[in-house]
Structures are given as C-alpha cells and as structure tokens.
Point group: C2
Chain length 190, copies 2
C-alpha cells in the first residue's frame, strides 16, 4: 500500500467528500458542520480546513461531483432507447430507483437551494443542468420527437418535480409513465 503521506492525504480528502454526501441529505446543507463531517469521516476536525478552504467549498465539491455522476449515468441508460415510448420507460425506471426521500434526491434539491445563496455554486450547477438538458435533447432528436429542446427541458423538470412530490405523497402506482408518454407523443395534435 503506497503509504506515502500524499497518498493518505488523498484518502482523507475522499472520505471527507463521502461524509459530506451523507450529511447534506441528513441534516440539510447549512446544518452540516465542520466537526460532524470530520467525525463521520473518522478524521480529526482540523483536517477539514486543511484539505478545503471552507465547509461551503467541501459541500459544493461533494454535491457537484455526485450530480455530475448522476447525469452521465442516466444519459448512458437512455442511449439504449429505440423509440420515444421506450425512452420514457427507461427514464421512468431510472426515476423509480429513487423515492424522493433517498440521499441522492435530497442532495440534489439541497444543492439547488444552496445555489440560490452562492453565486459560484449557482454557475456550476447551471452547467450541470444545461448538460443534462442537452444530452436529453440529443436523445429526443435521435428519436424524432418534435421540439426536442423544449421537451427535454420540461422532461428534466418533470423528473425533479416527481421526486420532490413523491417524497410527500406517493404518486398513484405506475401513473407517471402513461401520462408522460403523451408528452413525447410523436403524433401530438396541435
């Protein structure tokens, strides 16, 4: 094991990021403290400000990293769609992996809110969302869905909206898919 000092340092840094990803959903962005992250990561409190400029910087790095991973993950799955209907199916299946109260969903929403109070985070998060919209629009265009950009933007909003609402009251079982399928319907009447 490369027991070099720099190597151990990288490991501690990773553990701090992982701890932050757990604690933001649990306690809320602004309630995550230096000492709590350190304890969760199993390291001394002082290490947080050695590896990161501030708690805010740690949370931002942790959250943006996870969200970027989610975007590329979902996009990879959607590549398999051969028709608009199948795309909705695949997207619904992805969304079904979360119930709105899971750490990933909560982390996303917490980051949205934190971004309204932090211009730097806002800019970075906007880029992630734009990336997701672009990828989704590309899939829709491949499948000849009309108005791919606008449909992608609304579809992305539906994903987060559904997660947000499902955390409060479960959506009628399997109700989302058929409704959303109308949204990408190629034969939409105007």
């Amino acid at each position: 094991m490369a027991e070099t000092a720099a190597g151990r340092g990288r490991d501690v840094r990773r553990r701090l990021v992982a701890a932050a990803r757990e604690l933001v959903p649990e306690r809320g962005w602004s309630a995550v403290s230096t000492r709590a992250v350190a304890e969760r990561a199993g390291v001394a409190p002082g290490l947080v400000h050695y590896h990161f400029a501030s708690v805010q910087a740690l949370l931002a790095e942790a959250a943006l990293g996870e969200l970027r991973e989610m975007v590329t993950g979902v996009d990879a799955v959607l590549q398999r769609a051969g028709s608009p209907e199948e795309l909705v199916e695949l997207l619904a299946a992805e969304v079904d992996r979360f119930d709105g109260t899971d750490p990933a969903s909560l982390l996303a929403v917490e980051t949205y809110l934190a971004a309204t109070r932090d211009p730097q985070l806002h800019a970075a998060l906007t880029e992630v969302l734009d990336d997701f919209r672009r990828r989704l629009a590309a899939r829709l265009a491949d499948l000849a869905v009309p108005d791919p950009e606008a449909t992608a933007a609304v579809l992305a909003a539906v994903v987060d909206g559904v997660l947000l609402h499902r955390a409060l009251a479960p959506l009628p079982g399997g109700a989302v898919t058929p409704v959303v399928r109308r949204l990408v319907g190629t034969g939409a009447r105007r």
Copy 2:
C-alpha cells in the same frame, strides 16, 4: 386602535409569522435564528418563545399558512378554464408569476426539505399537496381530460419541477406551454 394587551399580542404574533416567511427563503430553513426573526419583526428576542413553542413551530406555521393560501389562490384561477388548453394557459400564467428565485417558490422547496426531517411538518405538508392534487383533478375531470388523478399529480409535479429548474437556467421562452398542452391532450394516442 384596540390597544388591549391581547390585541397587541396578536399583532406581534402576525409580525413574527411575516418575518419568518421572509427569512426562510433568504437564509434557508435551518439558518433562520430566533434573534433574526425577532429583529426583522421589530420585537424583542424573547417574544419568539413566548408566542411559539420553538423556532421550528414558528417556521412550520408560517410556511404552511402561505402554501395553503397559494393552493386556494391557484385553484380559484383555474376555475375560469373552459377547456383543457385554456387550463394549461391559465396554469402557465400562474407559474409565470414566479421565476424560481422568488420568496414564494423558495419557501415551498425549503418546506419540502424541512418536512423530510420533521414528521409533524411532513404530515401537514402532505395534506396540502393532496389538497392541491384533488382540486386539480376535479378541474381536469370537469374538462373531460382522461385519467384526471394521474394527470393532476404529474401536472402538480411539473409546476414545482419547472420552478426548481427555472431558478437555475431559464426555460426557453414560452416553451413550457405547448409541451404541457400535449400532456392534457384529449386525443392522446395510447
């Protein structure tokens, strides 16, 4: 007027609620402090815990009150719809009154998140959302939209999702309405 002690007490209570409604969007739910609310309301710090059992209780009362008002307000507007298309038009116009970074939108999302950490708040907020879904489903049923309950649930999710995303990146101008209109299309192919 009516300079009775109880009257002044009610007034202070109202001012505290109003202050809380301003501060939650500004600072985030868990970052609203006893002293900050008191200062914004122009009263002494001790008054918060005289009129409310805890800061949490004050925030919950303030948030739930505003959200309930929003639901009845939107529902009243939607009563005027004479067709599914017009309903989407009216709903879009309502949503356009907010841009996702306004106090009302942020208060809603903040409350969603706070509810995941407070069972009492969760139950109360679930009731508000259920009420909104029921009212919306009733409007849809009036207008002969197929599958009113499921469509209402998705439509409600779209509203919050659009607000959430618009706070980050503006949705292509007027892009939402035509896409969502497909969602309530009466002639949807299955």
